[in-house]
């Protein structure tokens, strides 16, 4: 019993899945709350139409929050946006998770009408768990880059948080299915899918979208009923399917198909598409993910290397190289210090010490040479943590401004590090 408990919750296991899960959590919260800030005046400022969720909050909290002057509301919106962005990029992850969650609670207490749905309440449950530990910033985060730990992706942590998130999603399915056939649920005696499809869109209140097969299903109520029973059956079985290793991948696929179908057919909040599928991925054993990463590393190690030529006597550059190593999940990059390399032209015929002194270079597996900004831009295709930067790197105008900014950094690189006794002597 003690062993089982240990295996379920206390065992140290890689935290990489949880670190990745942080990103969909941030996106879901952002998609749900940030749009309500655009008409801030209409949704939150004095004179806005407000509905208070008295079952969720205590009266004291509600009356305290309702006293907020407009200036405080605007400050809280700004704080939330900053904390949300920090959480998304994984900077001071746990602190930003706590501040962001408190912000989400504040706006929920201020006006539940603006964003309150059942799925919002579910999202808050997940957010609470994300606040409990700092593991969410172990990888895919600015925190891990700043820590410069090249083995950060393999870090192990107590598994309880991931297990609780697994249990949350599995039992959410279970209870959702159970409610549909017991309590006041009517999925056995009635035909809810058929009724939802029939709801006219008058007043723009119909929850069903006009999807491709809507008319077909509307013409086949028997099929809708069978489909309803099938959904209920799968929902109730989900905990068993997900926790049983033999059926796990099938359950994950089923969950993905289910949520994609919901998104295509119903007006359901973002959580159903962004959060739940990502939460299903938490069932993939993190050790398997590490094995997959190891396999990729082995493949890349035997392939022609991607060489990054940098200045090893510049503290800023060496520090940046350590950060790149922390980001280099698949071990794609090999770093070469031009100051100590005996023959740079052996790496590439066009490379000299003078050139390497001016800027960083990257030689890709095909022997192509990239310098400065373009070397960094090439790296964004190689390091998963830099993938989001690809869009920025190819944004119109970046090709012109990027090299100017890069060459300014490169010229002043000896001034950027905190403690380096040999700074000025090398300038």
């Amino acid at each position: 019993m003690n062993n089982l408990w240990h295996r379920l919750f206390l065992a140290q296991r890689p935290s990489i899945s949880l670190a990745f899960f942080r990103i969909p959590v941030a996106l879901t919260l952002g998609f749900h709350l940030l749009p309500t800030f655009l008409p801030l005046k209409e949704n939150y400022l004095a004179g806005s139409f407000r509905i208070l969720n008295t079952s969720f909050f205590t009266g004291a909290v509600l009356s305290f929050v309702q006293k907020s002057p407009d200036s405080l509301i605007m400050v809280m919106a700004a704080i939330f946006c900053v904390a949300w962005f920090f959480f998304l990029i994984g900077f001071r992850t746990q602190m930003s998770a706590i501040v962001m969650t408190l912000g989400a609670y504040y706006f929920y207490a201020l006006n539940a009408f603006a964003m309150g749905t059942l799925s919002w309440d579910i999202l808050l449950v997940t957010l609470f768990l994300m606040c409990v530990t700092p593991y969410a910033g172990d990888y895919f985060s600015l925190d891990c880059v700043l820590r410069k730990d090249p083995a950060a992706f393999a870090r192990t942590r107590p598994y309880f948080l991931q297990r609780l998130l697994q249990m949350q999603i599995a039992f959410t399915y279970f209870y959702t299915g159970l409610y549909k056939i017991t309590a006041s649920g009517n999925w056995l005696k009635d035909n809810p899918i058929y009724y939802v499809l029939l709801t006219p869109d008058a007043g723009e209140s119909g929850v069903t979208k006009y999807f491709l097969l809507r008319d077909f299903f509307m013409a086949h109520p028997g099929l809708c009923y069978v489909l309803g029973l099938l959904i209920v059956g799968i929902e109730i079985l989900m905990p068993f399917l997900l926790f049983n290793p033999g059926t796990r991948s099938t359950a994950i696929y089923l969950g993905f198909i289910f949520h994609l179908t919901l998104l295509l057919t119903l007006d359901v909040p973002a959580i159903f598409f962004f959060l739940f599928p990502a939460q299903l991925l938490l069932f993939i054993a993190p050790e398997k993910i590490l094995m997959w990463i190891d396999d990729k590393r082995t493949i890349y190690r035997s392939a022609p290397p991607v060489q990054v030529i940098y200045d090893g006597q510049c503290g800023f550059c060496s520090s940046s190289v350590k950060m790149l190593k922390a980001m280099d999940l698949f071990d794609r990059l090999t770093f070469v210090d031009y100051q100590t390399h005996p023959n740079l032209s052996a790496l590439h015929f066009d490379l000299t010490k003078e050139k390497a002194h001016r800027q960083m270079y990257l030689i890709d597996p095909h022997g192509e040479l990239y310098g400065g900004f373009f070397a960094f831009r090439r790296m964004t295709w190689l390091l998963p943590m830099l993938y989001p930067m690809v869009f920025v790197m190819y944004f119109p105008g970046t090709k012109m401004l990027g090299p100017i900014f890069y060459s300014w950094i490169a010229r002043n690189r000896y001034l950027f590090h905190k403690k380096c006794p040999n700074n000025s002597c090398l300038r």
């Binding site: 749009p35 655009l38 449950v125 008058a202």
Partner: protein
């Protein structure tokens, strides 16, 4: 249990699971079983468990709001009343306007309508009901619920 961290985690896990399953079963299973109202855990969990689409019946309904000017009525597009645009879904389609029928929010809602649509002299908040979607899909009854100013 090797250390205090394991004990702390174990206590947290047990409490969390108790809370989770209590809130999942409280309204529809525990309360009928114990025949009394049980307290809700504040600040977490949905009001009545995981009840997404658990009861969808043959009837339907929504709220329509009309503006009156010079004796003529005009249906106000609900998207002009709720102007928040979400990514991937639409609160109006989730029938969020039905919340304005609650008596305690009516004065506030009237005030907002008057401010947002100054071109109208009066507003009528109506409810549209479909008695049976399966028997007569487009048969609907509309009734005024309240007027603004109240």
């Amino acid at each position: 249990m090797k250390n205090s961290r394991d004990i702390f985690i174990s206590i947290f896990v047990v409490i969390w699971l108790l809370f989770f399953h209590y809130e999942s079963t409280r309204v529809f299973y525990l309360q009928p079983l114990l025949k009394r109202t049980l307290p809700k855990i504040k600040f977490l969990f949905p009001p009545a468990g995981w009840i997404m689409f658990f009861n969808v019946d043959d009837r339907g309904g929504h709220v329509e709001i009309y503006g009156l000017r010079h004796g003529a009525t005009q249906l106000i597009n609900p998207h002009e009343i709720i102007r928040t645009r979400f990514i991937g879904f639409d609160m109006v389609h989730r029938n969020v306007l039905s919340q304005v029928l609650a008596p305690e929010v009516r004065p506030d809602f009237c005030r907002v309508l008057e401010k947002q649509f100054p071109e109208f002299e009066k507003f009528i908040v109506t409810v549209v009901e479909y008695p049976s979607l399966t028997r007569s899909r487009f048969e609907q009854y509309q009734a005024p619920v309240y007027q603004c100013p109240l």
